[in-house]
Amino acid sequence: MTVFYLFASIAVGASLLVIAQRNPVYSVLLLIASFGALSGLYILLDAPFVAVIQIVVYAGAIMVLFLFVVMLLNAPQEDTEFDARTHPLLRPGPMKFGALLAAAFTGELIWALTRAGGGSGGFAGGAVSSVEALGRILFTDYAFAFEVTSVLILVAMVGAVLLARRDDRPGSRF
């Protein structure tokens, strides 16, 4: 129980700092910490395979890609004069509306969840969800979705290469 609160507070605190940081490099590192805490929660929830995937794919691959781009662009600050003058919550128009919307949504969610909380009860627990069972379902019931995902990743890979390529031909915009 304390483990849940430990991991949850790490995840929420690190996530808050992610959007509060000025330097994107710190944001990336804090997001890795947040994903690590979530991985611990997945182990608590008896999902070791997803926990490992979370570490390997998210914290390992995706965040390193982010860090690579942050360092490649070498644009550590997003500050403009406008940012220096105004606090993030005091900005006009859509930004304030977004913050207001998020606050309202939070209130509604907490209200709904605490009202329904009595009926949801504890976890059923019990049988261990094994990697074997996960693999069996993945390659039988969801084989089509699995193959479609592979095509999606192939397309994304080709698209990323095409977008990031420098085209030296005259008249090209990229």
Binding site: L31, L38, G98, A102, T114, G117, A156, A160
Partner: protein
């Protein structure tokens, strides 16, 4: 005692933090990270209910979400790189090529 409600509240908190990040920040890389936070909030719900219902399908869905997030990050960062080569900025206010 930890109930599914706890996990839903954690998931909602991360989702809200992600939404606030998308709305408030103007560095497009931070906005991308906020989107990853939102996807993770979804994953927490899927896995919590996979455990509650003793059904492994929730974990299968979480794996698919992670795969799609990887594809999305690759394409998105490619777009950011291409944009940065043209405009030398990552500020989202400068990205108004498709604004009518």
């Amino acid at each position: 005692m930890i109930t599914p409600t706890h996990y839903m509240l954690l998931s909602a908190a991360l989702f809200i933090i992600g939404v606030i990040g998308v709305m408030v920040r103007r560095n497009i890389i931070i906005i991308f990270m906020s989107i990853e936070l939102i996807l993770n909030a979804v994953n927490i719900n899927l896995i919590a209910y996979s455990y509650q219902l003793q059904d492994v399908i929730g974990q299968v869905f979480a794996v698919f979400v992670i795969a799609v997030a990887a594809a999305e990050a690759a394409v998105g960062l490619g777009i950011i790189l291409a944009f940065y080569r043209n405009k030398e900025t990552v500020n989202i206010d400068e990205m108004n090529l498709m604004r009518w």
